[in-house]
C-alpha cells in the first residue's frame, strides 16, 4: 500500500464508539469500537504463530466504547476499550486495511 494511503492526517473521536481517520491520500475511514476490539491484533486475541483469531467481532457487545486513544510513536495507534482491554497496537497499515467503506469493500473483492 502506498505510504500516503497509510499516513493519517487526522484521527478524531466522533462519538464514544466511533473514530474517524483522514488519510494523506484524501480517503476517509470510520471505525466502530466493537469491530476494532473484535479484530485486536494482540497476542491474546490472535494466535501469534498461526494468526488464527481467538477473539472475534461477534464476541463483542455493540455497546463497547473507546476509553483512551493515543499514538504509538509515529506508526500506530493504541486503544483502551471500555472492557479494559488495552494490549493491542494498531499500525496505520492495519487501520487502513480494516476500512469498511463501500469503496474499500469493492476493491477487496
Amino acid at each position: 500500500m502506498a505510504l500516503n494511503a497509510t499516513t493519517p492526517t487526522k484521527i478524531k473521536k466522533l462519538s464514544p464508539g466511533e473514530l474517524q481517520i483522514l488519510w494523506a491520500d484524501g480517503h476517509e475511514t470510520r471505525h466502530l469500537a466493537p469491530l476494532l476490539r473484535g479484530l485486536c491484533p494482540c497476542a491474546s486475541c490472535q494466535d501469534e504463530m498461526t494468526g488464527k483469531r481467538i477473539v472475534l467481532p461477534t464476541h463483542i457487545p455493540d455497546s463497547l466504547e473507546f476509553k483512551k486513544i493515543e499514538l504509538v510513536g509515529q506508526y500506530a495507534v493504541h486503544f483502551e476499550f471500555s472492557d479494559t482491554h488495552h494490549t493491542g497496537i494498531y499500525s496505520f497499515e492495519y487501520l487502513r486495511q480494516l476500512c469498511r467503506c463501500p469503496e474499500c469493500e469493492v476493491s477487496r473483492e
Binding site: 486513544i69 506508526y75 496505520f92
Partner: protein, 364 residues
C-alpha cells in the same frame, strides 16, 4: 513605518532589502530565507543595513555561505554603504513531539547500527559533543542498557543525584548525559529480561530531568530488540542515524535496522560510515582497509543521505578511552573535522523534518 522607508529618491527600503534577500535559498529546505521567516530585526539607517538571519540550527552546514550571499546581495543595492548580519538560530521542535513527557526536548535522534563494534557509541558521543560545540543544548542517552560505554568515553563514573525522585543528568563535554553505567558498578553485568530493559530505558527517558534540550541523542544497542521497539513506541523520534562500516557484511546487517525504523515510521536521517580508512600515525597515508565507498553506495541505492566518513584513527580510540571525545580534545584533527561536518548535516536533516507534519489527534 519609519521615515526613511518613504524616501522618494530611491533610498534603501525594507521592501528592497527583503526583495533581494529572497534570492538566498536554504539548500535543505528549498525555500528562500524571507519566506521561511529567517530574516528578523531589519534595521535601516541611511546607508547602513543590519538584520538577523535566524536559522533552524546553529550547526547549519551552509551558515557562512548564506551569510556571505546575503551581505553581497544587500551591498549591491543602490545607496547601501554597510551591511551587518547577525547569524542566530532557534532549533525547531519535531511536530509530533509529545507535549507532556520530555516537554523541554525539541528533537530526539536515535543512533543505531545493525551489528556491534561499528563504533556507534564513539560516533554518537562525538556527534553530541559537536552539536554542543555549535552552541545548542544537547543531551545524550546511553540506550545500551547491557553494555554501557558512555561513562568511560565521557570520563564520568559517579552516580547521578536525584531531586524529587528525578535523576539529574551528569555533565561532560558540554552535554548532559545519562547511562545505565552510572547506576551499576562497571564490572557488574546486568542480567535482565526484556521487560526490565524496557523499564530501564523508560526511566532514563522520562525520570531524568533533561530540562530544555535542542537535541537528545539516543545511542542504541546494536541490532533490533526491546530497546529499539520501546524507543519507537514511547517517543516520536525525529529520526535515526545509521552507523556502519564500509564492509559489505556490516552494511547488509545495517539494512535490517533500517527496515525496522521504516516499519515503525522513524525517518532515516542518513548513514554515517565509520572506520572508512586508516590514517597511518607515522606517515599520514590512507588505507581503505575495509574497502572504499561502501556506505556511500548503499545510501545512494536506498535513497537516503550519506552523512560522511569517519577514519579509523588511533587518536579517536585514545581520546575515547581517556574520557574526552576527539572533537573536544583535538578539534583540529581530520577526524574531528569530519565528525563536526557530519553533525552539521544531521542538524540540517533534523531541520528538514521539523517542517513535516504529523497526524492531528482529536480524541477528547
Amino acid at each position: 513605518m519609519a521615515i526613511w522607508n518613504k524616501d522618494k529618491d530611491g533610498g534603501v527600503t525594507e521592501e528592497k532589502v527583503l526583495d533581494v534577500l529572497k534570492q538566498v535559498k536554504d539548500p535543505d529546505l528549498h525555500k528562500d530565507i524571507v519566506s521561511l521567516g529567517f530574516v528578523r530585526n531589519l534595521k535601516i539607517d541611511g546607508g547602513n543595513v543590519a538584520f538577523d538571519v535566524n536559522l533552524t540550527t546553529p550547526a547549519c552546514p551552509v551558515k557562512d555561505q548564506m551569510r556571505d550571499e546575503a551581505i553581497a546581495l544587500v551591498r549591491g543595492l543602490a545607496g547601501v554603504k554597510d551591511v551587518a548580519v547577525n547569524m542566530t538560530a532557534e532549533v525547531r521542535t519535531t511536530p509530533t513531539m509529545d507535549k507532556t513527557a520530555l516537554k523541554g526536548v525539541k528533537n530526539i535522534v536515535a543512533v543505531g547500527s545493525g551489528k556491534g563494534g561499528v563504533g556507534k557509541s564513539t560516533v554518537a558521543v562525538n556527534l553530541a559533543a559537536s552539536l554542543a560545540m555549535e552552541g545548542t543544548a544537547v543531551g545524550l542517552l546511553d540506550g545500551d542498557i547491557y553494555g554501557p560505554t558512555m561513562p568511560i568515553m565521557l570520563g564520568i563514573h559517579e552516580p547521578p543525584k536525584s531531586v524529587n525522585n528525578r535523576m539529574i543528568p551528569m555533565e561532560s563535554a558540554g552535554l548532559r548525559f545519562m547511562s545505565m553505567g552510572l547506576l551499576v558498578k562497571s564490572d557488574q553485568p546486568l542480567i535482565w529480561r526484556g521487560p526490565m530493559a524496557h523499564r530501564a530505558l523508560q526511566q532514563c527517558l522520562f525520570d531524568v530531568e533533561w530540562g530544555e534540550l535542542d537535541y537528545l541523542i539516543v545511542d542504541l544497542p546494536p541490532g533490533t530488540g526491546d530497546i529499539h521497539l520501546t524507543l519507537a513506541q514511547q517517543v516520536p523520534l525525529t529520526g535515526a542515524v545509521i552507523v556502519t562500516t564500509p564492509q559489505d557484511v556490516g552494511l547488509r546487517i545495517s539494512m535490517k535496522t533500517l527496515r525496522m525504523f521504516e516499519q515503525t515510521r522513524v525517518p532515516i536521517l542518513g548513514i554515517v560510515e565509520n572506520m572508512s580508512y586508516y590514517i597511518c600515525p607515522h606517515c599520514d597515508s590512507r588505507d581503505y582497509i575495509f574497502g572504499e565507498g561502501g556506505g556511500k553506495r548503499a545510501a545512494a541505492e536506498i535513497g537516503i543521505p550519506f552523512l560522511g566518513e569517519v577514519p579509523l584513527d588511533v587518536a579517536i580510540r585514545k581520546q575515547s578511552d581517556a574520557g574526552s571525545p576527539i572533537v573536544v580534545s583535538q578539534p583540529q584533527s581530520e577526524s574531528a573535522k569530519n565528525l563536526r561536518e557530519i553533525s552539521k548535516r544531521i542538524a540540517a536533516q533534523v531541520s528538514i523534518r521539523s517542517y513535516a507534519t504529523g497526524p492531528i489527534l482529536e480524541v477528547e
